[in-house]
Every structure is written in C-alpha cells, then in structure tokens.
C-alpha cells in the first residue's frame, strides 16, 4: 500500500468510497494541478517533507527504539550459541568466546527432542497454563464487575486496596503463608490433629495436587491486580446505556450481559491473546521455591528448566536452543490466538489492514 502510516488529515468525506476499492492506484480523473496545489489532500507527501514535518515525533520515539534495539534485538543475535557448544570461558569476553567455541549444527535441538526432562517440563508448563486459563483468567473479570457494582466510594476503595495488596507480596512470602496454613505443620493439619484426625494432612508436598495448589496461589496473589485493566475498561462505559436499559426494563443481570460484557469484550479478547501467547511462560520463582517440596517431576516448567540447565549447570548452548524453540512457539501461539480474535471480530494485539 502506498498509504503512509503517519497521521494525516482525513480526505474529504465524498472521496472515501471512491478511494477504497482503488487503493494503491492513483485516483484517476483528477487534474494534476489540483494535487500540486494542495498535496496534503492527496496523501502524496514526499519522504523529506514528512521527515521535516514529523521529526519531533521520531526524536521522541528514538530512545525507545534504541533501548529496544540494544536490549531486545541485538541480544537476539546471541542466539547463535544455540548452534555451538559454547563456553563463556573459551576467550576474553562474549565475542571472543563465541569465536573460539565449536560449531555443532543442530545437535542441541536434536538433544532437546530426545530429552525426557525437557518434555516433562513442556507438559507441566502447558498443564499449568491451561489450568490458569481455565480458572485464573475469568476471576479478575468477575471481580471487576463486582467491584464496579459497589457504589459506595469508600467501601470500593477499601475493597480495591485489599484486592491489590497480595500482588505486592513476594513469592517467598506467599508460599510461606500457604505453608503455614496448608503445610504438614500448618493450621489445618494441627487443627485436625487436635480433633483426633492424625492422618498427616499436607497439601504442600503432594505432587498430584501441585497443579491446583499453584493455580490457587496465583489466584490469591494476582487476581486482584488483574482487575485494574477491566476496571479501566468499565469506567469508559457510557452510563446512559445503563439508564436507558433500565428504562427499557432490563434487570441487573440483563444489564451486565448486554451492556457491561460487550463493553469488556475487546479487552478480554486482547488479554486472552496475550495470555495464550504467554502459555509457555507461567512464572519461575513460584516453581523454584517449591521444586524440592514436590520434586522436579511435578514442578519443573520450561523457564526453570532453562535456568537450571543454562545458568546453574552452565549448558548455555542447550538452554539457548530451548529458548529459541520456546520463542518460536510463543510467536506462533500469539499469531494463532490473534487470528481467532480477528475471526471473532475483535482487534486482538494488532489490527490487520
């Protein structure tokens, strides 16, 4: 398309229908002289003119672009170590080490395919993500609608504060709290012992229950924080819609169904796409801390596996290979989820033009 993406004044209303179907081609039947007279109406502004016009905007985004370049894009090049048997100590500094490391082609990927620990980690990651999608994702939406229905401003502010607070606790603290309540010497277990039920209640070391335990922990810690986006979306809903719905005789549930939820739909779709795209990233600290309690078989996720093999055991190349595969699959997931969002008529993360 020849259209520039920089903002420009909309063409006059009557021109639009003619322009659409012929996009990319020069509109026919217009005298050249007219365009020369006022080029802005044509969208045919030259590159240098645009540069002169937009340079403050470009200058403003430049720091971000540089930061992204330095911290996100250039490091991507470091992924070449996935095709090596890389040792950071083979030389002075990263590039020297890289030059001195042996190239092994796709050996690391080959090893990954045959590594049962890796597949265990993949399986755990997907199970945890799936459970979070199922149980964690809807909760902030429900909470946001609930909070939004509280009209008393003080009660509302207090409820919000209480819901946000656990987000600021560290995982160490959250898990300690859970240990004190659900652990083998915790509140529940001791209360049961006091009442003669001496059967060793302990949910914190049960590998089978672990996937539900961590979902519960995530809900407890982050569900409150998750409502912020939805509350923001709800605040933009035109109150008149509720009023007119009420006038038309809609009850509380019908108003929620026909006004509130449709208003939230784009945000829900957006977050769903992001959540699905992040399916291979379910968190790390939470699993590191509880790894020994339930064993790596139940608690190892992709990120902890990469950390353990890469940083802890110094197999940088293998960890990089896993990282690449993880990145590619995450990208595929985002694109797929986005496509579904488009099919549902939503914008998703980006808009197709």
């Amino acid at each position: 398309m020849s259209h520039s993406t920089v903002p420009r004044p909309a063409p006059p209303e009557e021109e639009r229908p003619a322009e659409r179907p012929t996009a990319g081609r020069r509109p026919v039947g217009r005298p050249r002289a007219r365009r020369r007279r006022d080029p802005r109406l044509e969208g045919g502004v030259g590159f240098r003119q645009r540069l002169r016009r937009d340079w403050p905007l470009i200058a403003m985004t430049l720091p971000c672009v540089i930061a992204l370049l330095v911290f996100a894009y250039i490091p991507i090049a470091g992924n070449v170590i996935a095709f090596q048997s890389f040792s950071p100590y083979a030389g002075d500094g990263f590039f020297d080490s890289m030059a001195n490391s042996v190239w092994v082609g796709l050996d690391q990927f080959d090893r990954m395919v045959n590594d049962s620990y890796f597949w265990d980690a993949v399986q755990n990651t997907l199970v945890f993500s799936g459970l979070q999608l199922l149980f964690f994702f809807p909760i902030p939406i429900a909470l946001a609608i609930l909070i939004n229905s509280i009209l008393h401003s003080k009660v509302r502010a207090w409820a919000q504060a209480v819901l946000y607070l656990p987000h600021f606790f560290s995982w160490v603290l959250v898990i300690t709290v859970f240990q004190q309540i659900l652990g083998g010497a915790g509140m529940v277990a001791q209360t049961m012992r006091d009442n003669g039920w001496d059967d060793g209640f302990d949910l914190m070391t049960d590998p089978g229950f672990f996937k539900f335990l961590i979902t519960f922990q995530v809900i407890w810690k982050d569900a409150g924080w998750g409502i912020i986006v939805f509350l923001a979306a709800l605040s933009t809903v035109n109150q008149e819609l509720y009023e007119s719905a009420a006038v038309d005789g809609a009850g509380r549930w019908r108003r929620a169904w026909h006004v509130t939820l449709p208003a939230l739909r784009p945000v829900i779709a957006l977050l769903l796409v992001l959540q699905v795209g992040n399916m291979l990233t379910v968190g790390m600290e939470q699993f590191m801390i509880q790894r020994t309690a339930v064993g790596p078989g139940a608690a190892e996720v992709l990120d902890t596996y990469v950390w353990n093999t890469g940083i802890q055991n110094g197999q940088f190349s293998y960890a990089a290979a896993i990282g690449i595969v993880k990145g590619i699959f995450s990208l595929v997931l985002v694109l797929a989820a986005n496509r579904v969002a488009h099919a549902m008529g939503e914008q998703g993360v980006y808009k197709r033009r």
Binding site: S87, D92, Q179, A185, D194, I289, V294, I311, Q312, N313
Partner: protein, 556 residues
Amino acid sequence: MSNSPSAPSRRRFLTSTAAAAAATAGGIPLLSACGSDGAAGGGGEGRVAENELESILPTYRASDVAVEPDIPSENGSSPGYTSFIPEDELGVTVPQPKGNGGEYRVMSPLWGTPPSDGNAYWTAMDEAIGVRVRWQTQDGNTYGDKLGAVLAGSDIPDLVCVPGWELTGQIPRAISSRFADLGPFLSGDRVFDYPNLAAVPTAAWEASVFGGALRGLPMPSPPIGGVVPFYRQDIFEANGWAPPTDAEEFLSFCQDVTSARNRVWACEDMKWSAWIIHGVLPERPQYWEEVDGRLVNRYETDAYLEGLEWTRRLYDAGVVHPDAVAVQGDALVRFTSGESLMFNTGQGVWHNTLTEQRTANPDFRMNAFDYFGVGGADPVLYAGNGATIWTFVNKDLPEERIREALEIANFCAAPYGTREQLLRTYGVQDVHYTVENEQRVRTPQGEEEVVPETYTFIATPGHFVAASDVPQLVEDQTGWLKRQMPYVREPLFYGRQIQEPDQFTNLNDQFEALEDDVVRGRRSIRDVQDAAAEWRRNGGDELRDWYQRLRDEESA
C-alpha cells in the same frame, strides 16, 4: 563439589561452615614430599603432579606471635581457646598499613543484611590495611546465579570469592582462565613476605591449586568438614533421653520422641548425616573407591542406596518436620524453638546460636552427638579438602596491584590473639563491642556491621575454636572433633582440585533432585539404580577410565 541444579540445603549448611570465622596457630603441614613422576595435568584438566605441586606450594612457617591454645590439638583436631586475652596482651602482625591506598572491587557472598557502604567497620579495616575496598556483596544463598553471570561477562571484579559448592558446570574452567597465578608471589619462600599467609596450613594451599597453578587464597576448613549432628541437650536431659548410638536405634528413638500434636518432631532432613553413618563416599571429585582393583563410583555403591533408604524411612515414619519436607522456612529456627529436636548443619552456627539463645532462654543448650555406624560398624567421615572457599585475584591486575591485594589477605589471615584478628572478627572497641567482665560484648552496631562477614572471605588462618564467653562450647566442640577424628578417612584423590574433562561436566546433574525425590517417597531405590546405569552409559564408564589413568600415572 556440588553438581546440583538447586541445593538450598547444602548451601545453607556449608554457609555455616563458612561463617566459622576461625583462626589457629598450629596448622599441620600435610605435604607429602615424595617426588613421583606424575605426568597428569599441568594445564587445563587433570590434576597437578606431586613434584610440580611441591614447587608451587608456599612454605609453611608457624606464626611467631600466635598464642598457645588452652585445649591443644589432638590427631589434627582444632585447638581451642577458652580464656579471655586483654587488648594489651594481643600480638601484632601488621604494625602499620602495608597498602598504598589502592582501590579494589571485591565480590563476595554475604549471609544476612549487608551493612551500608562506608560503615565504621569497613573503614577501620581499610585504614588498617591501607587500601580502599569497594564491596560488591551478593546474597549468599543465591550467589551461584550471580557468579556464573559475572564470570561469563567481561567486567570481572578485582577479587572474587568462590565457595567450593559453586564449582559446578563451567566455573572451574572460568577460574583457570580468569584469575591470576599467585605462584610468582607466594610459592616456596616467597610467601615469607606475607607471614600470616605463610602460617596458613599447607593442606589449605594444596586445595587452592586450580588448573596447575596456585590461584586461590584459601579459607582453611575445619578438620571435619560437612555437617555436625546437633541435638537439644537441654530437652534431652530434661526428659532423660540419651542420644541414639546406632542407625536402627535412631529410627525407633525418633518415633518415640515425635509428637506432632504438640508440634514436636524428632529431626530435620538428615540426609547429610546418613552419608556419614553409612560411609557413603563424598561428592565430586573424591567420589571413587577401589574395590578389587576397579574404581567404583559413589552412585554405584550399596552404601549410597542404604543411606538413601535409611533417610526415606525417617521421612516415611513422619519424624521429619513437615516444613523440612516442604523445604520451607529455616531449620535453625525450628531447632531453637524446640519444634525439631535434632538437625545437621555446619559447625559455624554453634557459637552464634548459643550466644543468641542465652539472652532469651538461659537454659538453652545444644550439643553434637557422636556419629555412629550401622549395626555396630564405625561411621566414615571422609576428610574434606583443606579449603572449600577461596578468593581469587583478577589476572588483569598489574603486579604491584596483586601484591597489594595479597596484603589484604595477609591482614585477614592474622592468627588468633592478634590485634588484626580482633579487628576483623569484632571491629573497633567501644564502637562495635565493649569489654565487660573480661568479655567482649558486641554492640548493636557491631551486630549490624561486623557479624555479616565480608573480609573473612578474602583469607583466614587455620581453623580453631575460640569462645571466651561460652567456654563450654569450646570444650563441647573440640571434644566432639577429637572423638570423631579416629573415623576420619582420606578418600582417593584426596587433597587437590581435579578438573574433569568438559564432556563429563553435567554427568551427575540429576542425582541431587533424584535423592530428594527418593527420600520423600516419590521415587524408588530402583530409580536410583536405573539412574546409575544410565550414568554409566552416558559417560560414567569413560569417566572411570579417565580417573583410572590419573591413578595409574600417580602411582607409576
């Protein structure tokens, strides 16, 4: 030493060994002077040959200012000091600052809350040494994460502390390629320029040879490294219990004293004690024994399986504190609060715990029980390396900067009964401690600035036990050491650093997680046997041949 993916338990117990800020006058030089014609090592992998080693090691010369111990060393046990030495009777090894005001970035682990920059203790130490140290302390429990990243980068601090349990993966290789050979400054009689370093036991220097060169400044280990099995002597005596003296008896005793209803459990995780009770070989690289002329690895031995099975039975019987099963919280806190009656950890916690508890609970007493074997057999305590924590000097430093850095180490290694040692362990009088009734009592500022140890990691004198405030501790600890010394045995390949070829680096990675799974009943002893078979297939047998060649070359 370790090859674990994540080993909080191990870190914690070794930590406390590290915190045993200890010094001694009389170290025993263990250098065997037989000049064999070993050809291994020299460069990267392997280990350095005996005759080569002899020329590398510093000459031992006992300190001439050291104080006679109140409880002398026996069979190599640590000497003990019970009496108080007043300020004016202290010896002096560094009369005036030897440094030239150079600035050093030092990276070290730190357990506890780091004191603020430019605090009175660090300033006093710097002034006495004549340098300016910029500390880059990192949380000791997660030190390995930082260390790997720092060593893999290009901006390495001037001095870097590396604890032995972080020598995993590629770290040993990093040490050979990133840090300076101190041989030109310390080998042979050259060490006499630094008299306190000359008094560091030779065993500690032997363990500081990396990649064929003397690179480490050692923190000498106690003669018995590893864990000490502690029990609550006050609770035991109040109930008329005696510590168990046999592996089977230990199990039944634990079941008798556990009362979950009253929040009392017999013990914490005892896996590390189980190794000693069952005579299990230590970890890499001293993890071989010779059976009928063939090397057998720790992971292939029956003792290893028996030790695991014994620990599993403890877990299974429900006598291990549930928080220990879940690896949450602090074992020491559960021990001092009486929720668990026995636990094992490094000996460093002993003194601190006693002084801490005495204010809150004057009856508090802890002691270590003697190790026992299975069915009347003797326990086996494999001698650990002479040093398990080192500080290394960046190889990019110019010569005179290295000499100045060694002056820092020389100051830190001053023996017990000297002003330097007092300054390092207690700080400045009337700022960090006061003298009351012939006792040094730390002030809150002292607790804050001196107790989280920093300079200790650069170098220390040989191990000793000193506690004029709790003389009972000195007797208990030296007594325990003396009673265990007869069971100390040197493993094969004892004493020096061995760097295995790169392809074996990650061979043992799976075992620690597997052990934790087995003792918690999630996997079986059968799985360990399968893992050992897999280990053999994946390179264990080749590794055996490699060690066998090393051994043949040594005995040739």
